[in-house]
């Protein structure tokens, strides 16, 4: 069979069109990563985010909505500072339309540069100190955290801009077990730099934290007070297979 130039041209054009089409589809259809993400690669699947994570220094939700005029200064300032943390909310929640929020700190954490609240013209973001920011609260998923399952990771505490004031360490024979206390500002740098696929840290709102705090701390105490045998069964029987399955996500981008 003869394969002349015309055929080659046809073939390459078809291939080009096909790849362009698949590329176009992938833009709308999201990528496989995001799909895998939705199938339980999130830390603490039982705990909701509980609302919207606002930029640092934001007023309480109701006042924030009343004051914010959707001018986009904070979003664009965040872009000029090269952090791109803030995003504009869509139409899914009509009351919230056009307002800035932190989409997913696993992709774009807040670096607490404090530029957005300085440049807010309406006062919807009030100027506060770094330490007083209350964007949210970071919770470590103890069942998939490396440090809680026999490893010495501590990536979260190294990434944390507040450092020693926020992290408590319970070092033992089951690893360097990190715990985040109430002073957390919720910037999400720890969630970004968690080496586990899908991250082992979830940022939730302060309101939601008040609700789930007791359960979460009870879980923590239960894990701490376990006997060696119970802990062995938990780590090797349940948690390590979980960690192994999540570790497969190498491309660490979670946005959809």
């Amino acid at each position: 069979m003869e394969f002349d130039r015309r055929d080659f041209l046809k073939l390459s054009l078809t291939a080009g069109a096909a790849s362009a089409l698949s590329g176009a589809i992938s833009v709308f259809d999201n990528d496989a990563n995001a799909a895998a993400n939705k199938e339980g690669f999130e830390p603490l699947p039982n705990i909701n985010i509980g609302g919207i994570i606002r930029p640092p220094g934001a007023l309480p939700e109701k006042e924030f909505r009343a004051k914010c005029i959707s001018c986009g200064v904070c979003v664009n300032v965040c872009h000029t500072m090269k952090y791109d943390t803030l995003s504009i909310a869509g139409l899914s929640d009509l009351k919230n339309f056009g307002l800035p929020y932190v989409k997913d700190t696993r992709d774009f954490p807040c670096a607490l540069c404090m530029e957005c609240l300085k440049s807010c013209p309406t006062g919807a973001l009030q100027p506060v100190k770094k330490e007083d920011v209350k964007m949210g609260m970071a919770l470590i998923d103890l069942s998939i955290c490396f440090g809680w399952n026999g490893d010495v990771c501590l990536s979260c505490s190294k990434a944390c801009p507040m450092g020693a004031t926020i992290f408590d360490f319970y070092n033992g024979e089951w690893g360097n077990q990190p715990m985040i206390n109430d002073k957390c500002v919720g910037c999400g740098l720890c969630a970004k730099f968690c080496p586990l696929g899908g991250s082992a840290i979830k940022i939730i709102t302060r309101d939601e934290y008040k609700k789930v705090k007791d359960n979460y701390l009870a879980d923590f105490k239960k894990t701490m007070n376990m006997t060696n045998e119970e802990r062995y069964n938990l780590v090797y029987g349940v948690n390590l297979p979980l960690i192994m399955s999540r570790g497969r996500i190498i491309e660490r981008e979670y946005r959809d």
Partner: protein, 304 residues
């Protein structure tokens, strides 16, 4: 003399679609000579938009949009109507917001409603839309005073709902810059919701369609931002002056040139020396259109 012949509508010629759509092409240079103010106006507009586009290149000058922005360093600016809506919605005076709105207030106490003609990007978009439409007559019967209901309604709704409704959802300025930001973020693969882009472009598209059907109805009657700035026209330092009312031959070229529907010729006929009309946007088209040799309408800026 070239400028005189550019505008050749004789007084008795009725303005119809056919004789107005005739374009007097006499070369770009002659056009520029006769339209110095229009040229300067477009230059200002493009400069402002370019400054706002620089934020996408991560330059921290003029970040945000024309409703609210970080002008430079620590100077924040806030549109006056957005400020009003914000304080109505939050029932709080808002010191930070007031500090941001003050520079704009001072600017408009001096320049009046010139924002609409010189800075607002919709003015240029509408101008382009006007070119698509064949008939260029801006005939519009409803009095602009009815338009004052609209900002009041929006303020009342904002007060009731607790959200700055107009600025947040329908504002042409917010949506213009939001669509730019959204499109840029989308193509740079940054976090942005697609419906934000679609909504913002849809609002701009709706306004263009409105412009094609009812020319300048948005600017003359509806736009609450312009309405509020129109109030400043009564006290602004920048004003239109008439140097010599007797020289007017009553050709009404100024009325036809004005796309905001200001009856300049009436002011001239009544013997007024100063034109203080809430719909005047200081575009200077009446000055350029005037058929008298010495151009009896003048733009005057006195700080006294």
């Amino acid at each position: 003399m070239s400028t005189e012949t550019n505008v050749n509508n004789t007084p008795d010629e009725e303005p119809t679609c056919s004789n107005l759509s005739k374009n007097n092409k006499k070369g770009l240079l002659n056009w520029l000579k006769g339209h110095k103010l229009s040229t300067l106006r477009r230059f200002v507009l493009i400069a402002v938009v370019v400054f706002f586009l620089l934020q996408f290149l991560r330059v921290k000058i003029a970040v945000g949009s024309l409703t609210g922005s970080l002008a430079i360093w620590f100077v924040n600016l806030l549109d006056v109507f957005a400020y009003l809506e914000s304080i109505f919605a939050s029932k709080d005076f808002g010191l930070i917001a007031l500090l941001s709105a003050l520079p704009i207030l001072v600017v408009y106490l001096i320049f009046g409603r010139s924002f609409c003609g010189w800075v607002c990007p919709m003015d240029y978009i509408f101008h382009v839309a006007d070119r698509i439409r064949k008939c260029k007559i801006f005939d519009f019967k409803i009095s602009p005073n009815y338009g004052y209901i609209i900002p009041l309604v929006f303020l009342a709704v904002s007060f009731a709902v607790g959200i700055p409704v107009f600025t947040n959802y329908f504002s042409h300025l917010t949506n213009f810059f939001r669509s730019l930001t959204g499109a840029y973020f989308f193509f740079m693969d940054l976090p942005v919701a697609v419906d934000v882009i679609i909504f913002s472009f849809a609002v701009i598209g709706f306004l263009i369609i409105l412009e094609l059907i009812f020319p300048r109805m948005w600017c003359r009657l509806i736009c609450p931002v312009g309405r509020v700035y129109g109030l400043f026209n009564k006290v602004s330092r920048l004003k239109l002056m008439i140097t010599d009312n007797d020289l007017c031959k009553g050709c009404k070229a100024c009325d036809r040139a004005c796309y905001m529907g200001v009856k300049v010729s009436d002011y001239v006929k009544n013997g007024d020396k100063i034109i203080r009309d809430s719909n005047c946007i200081f575009c200077g088209r009446c000055i350029e259109a005037c058929n008298t040799k010495s151009k009896i309408i003048k733009m005057n800026l006195s700080l006294k």
